[in-house]
Symmetry: C2
Subunit: 257 residues, 2 copies
Amino acid sequence: MSIGIFDSGIGGLTVFKEISKEFPKADIYYLGDTARVPYGNKSKETVIRYSVEAGNYLKSFGIDALIVACNTASSFALDTLKNILDIPVIGVIEPGVEMAIRFTRNKKIGVIGTSATIKSGSYKNLLEKNNVQIYQKPCPLFVPLVEEGIIEGQIAELVVREYLDDLVAEGIDTLILGCTHYPLLKKTIKKIYPHLKIVDSSQAIAEFLHRENLRFNGSGLRKIFITDESESFERFKRVLIGDIPLEKIDLSKLCTL
Amino acid sequence: MSIGIFDSGIGGLTVFKEISKEFPKADIYYLGDTARVPYGNKSKETVIRYSVEAGNYLKSFGIDALIVACNTASSFALDTLKNILDIPVIGVIEPGVEMAIRFTRNKKIGVIGTSATIKSGSYKNLLEKNNVQIYQKPCPLFVPLVEEGIIEGQIAELVVREYLDDLVAEGIDTLILGCTHYPLLKKTIKKIYPHLKIVDSSQAIAEFLHRENLRFNGSGLRKIFITDESESFERFKRVLIGDIPLEKIDLSKLCTL
């Protein structure tokens, strides 16, 4: 049994790492669409097209489930992917929302993500069904900060405060990191706002899979595909995951005219 | 007579603005490849492919010259574009280098840009022929800062210092802004390092065209094409240029399999 994970770039590696740890026997195929990263500033139509190309590519390995480890793609393309691929498709939104609902005491939940994720309203729509108050904020500088490796120190702290001070002042007790890059800023966020309960997508997805009783038994194969060479991808892969080699593929070959 | 300008996104609008001002009668066609921005973290092969698609698209309007207002594309794709298109193709590298050589007194020149531009060595190769000392630095956070509108204030100043303090400590008297986004940070850079002579690509290109005696006489038409809707593009276009409407096009339709 095998599982596919896809993200626009490096962020989903936090999910790859957690799923690898929690399901050591699963065969795991990761695709980072590094040629077209980031998805966060692209239109819904474009994100759906890219996501379908990625989903179809991973499906060609006979995966039994697909994790869309990219919040923008989860917001825009999940329904289309579920319709096209005939396997369970798990986004990052639902597991994150479920974890946040379990965490919150005062029912005030903050959500941060890319502009596209926040604008899509996907977290808001799902949270609203649970009778909580929602405070949202796009944080467009967090992804470049993480990719530049600036995850601690004065600049990281100032940028975190710039985006989150207002949100925290609203009295939230739980913060959903609605982007798979953001867990790398978790330490800095916790340092500034130690009382916040933080929802990390990678942990939320692993918990979700356990609860859904999806069992992945394979040979523990690990494959990572990228669509373009990327120094930041290589660096983060090395730090997070280690020595698994990268294979470059060309998704535009699947381009349908 | 008409001129085409292309960039991966919004940065080239600084060039569009300057060229519009300096050549009011020219018909000007701008293409921002907003669906695939940024180019700075993509491989040479991919940047060339995208640049050729953009160049061919603009050529279809019968342009008499093409400005590649993107430093990454100028570094990687200029020769290919010159070979394929049968019109003058002007990058940002050569005009910037010429201006820097005229500016410098102590022959110590700094160059900043995206990782791809710096890695390409295109500025370095051209500067070295002029018997000057070169100090280079990639500044990957400058583009997202500019796109987020953080061009002044504490965060902008800290990030500028983070990247430029070392470079300035080397004793440079001239700094080439090797990315068309960076002119928007010029005021902050000048505030911190008032003695630096700053080379702004948009001014360098306009000067270059004047010196080359390229004459553009048309009806003063202005057209701006983008490959994907983009809030930051719309915002910057409004601030820099005003009410010219945007037309969305699909370059992937030109994709050659």
